[in-house]
Amino acid sequence: MNMKPMFPERGPAFWLTGLAATVSAGTIGLLFVSLVVESVPVFKAEGVSFLWGTDWFAGESYGALPMIYGSLMVTGLALVMVLPFALGSAILTSEFLSGRARLIVKAAMELLAGVPGILYGLMGIALLAVWVRDLFGLIDGNTLFTAGVLLAVMILPTVMTLAEDALRAVPGETRDTALSLGLTRIETVMQVVVPQALPGLAGAVFLGLGRAMGETIAVMLVIGGIDRIPQPWFDLFAPGQNIPSKIGREAAEALGFDVQWSALIALGLVLFLMVMTLTTAGNFLIGKAR
């Protein structure tokens, strides 16, 4: 059996499927190479200071820092807000609900994970932004905070489902052993199941964050759209900008080949690298947990 050739027969089926496989495996590489190549002009014009420049005036100067800052802030905020709800409901669903109730919760989560981003955006601009404005006495409700809250709601189903899978992956015998030693159910969960599922839980959170960081349309509508780091820097109730929103706002006018287009692609490259780091870490942790 070890002598089997790598590709047994090279009929038309081989070449046809091979072509399809090349297309689907090559896409991601092509995507990355294009991002790098197309962002060269802006790095030529601005140097590496593109990454920490704070001024972005189309046609004059391009600095990405406010957008990078905005991306990190809204994603971090979404993380803080989604964590208790996602983990709490994952633990409840996996450890305390009956099989039938669990199926219903999971199905509901899958439906919700599919709700189009534009609907969250509509909800954000028509309702959430108004509530934030009135609740905190702001002039304008389109702020980094609003975007963070909206993202937290958007990634809740994803994080919850993946975290629940991670908890379910802990074998039942582990629970039985802990219970037979006299631990209560909640002690079993908190001291035995959760520590064992920790890599999977962390993976779920990373994947959720990757989604949050790349989400465009909903954030674009509520983040305020001002390329500025607020003063002081931790003032989340100020309008800001993140990378996807910046690309979304300017892509239509920059469509083409000048430096502005290249600057947007370079922003895309930065976003790509950040999201890939989160997702690869997440998939690695989840794979390890299995």
Partner: protein, 283 residues
Amino acid sequence: MNPRLWKERTTVFILYGLTGCGGLVLAVILTTVIMKGAPALSGEFLFEESRNFGLEGGIFYQMIGTLILMVGAAMVCLPVALGSVLFQTEFLHSSKLKKMFRFLIYSLNAVPTIIFGLIGYLFFGVLLEAGVSWVTGVLILAVMILPTLHVSIHEAVESIPDHYREAGLALGLSPGQQMRAVILPQSVYGIVTGTLLGLARAAGETAAIMFTATAFSGVRLPQSWNEPVTTLQTHILVLSQEAANPAALTHAWGAGLVLLTLVLFLISVTLWMRTGMEMEAER
């Protein structure tokens, strides 16, 4: 009371509270779209074209545009995803290469959709000279939903019992015959559910098509391959930016309800099919 029992009860209570809050938020979202969208719906709304920059009339051509893009994307994507899965399961034997392949597909799944828009425009809009058009949109969405179809079909093919393949091999089938006679018929479920999920994803996507495939007003059906369409997603996007105008918002909520119904219907069918399959497997 026993402190351990007390701790048990409070923690479970807190868990229910957290879950309840999460569930409540999500329930509010669904009811809001339904409550706000339902008043806008009428025969006129569904079957007339939009007038006066979306403030009057209906969303007929927007619905058609969304359908064109999502069905086109699925039709382009399906053969590629299918072929790619078959190559991976039937011809690739090195587990290292298989892992590598899986990694690439999972990475593609994580790419922010706006990046598909940017780079997709370069390739399809500029190099293929399709410009801002429905063809560009279809191709971009096809790439975007590739991982969705791929993973679903792959799962189905992997779950075919070994003795089915062995029976085929014993009959002396070539890989091509094996695929036609054994693999494809046995993985129809995965192909259908994967395609439905892909359709749902394509229908819900806005960022990748807003500057590559669509125009807001004055568009009906595309007459040639390099004309833009108008879609529900981008219609909502433009209207929601006029949130101060109640007429714009009403139309946006109405279009939102139609879009949500479409997407949730597609996902429900896949969920229903999948539970049916699980029950069959348990029997």
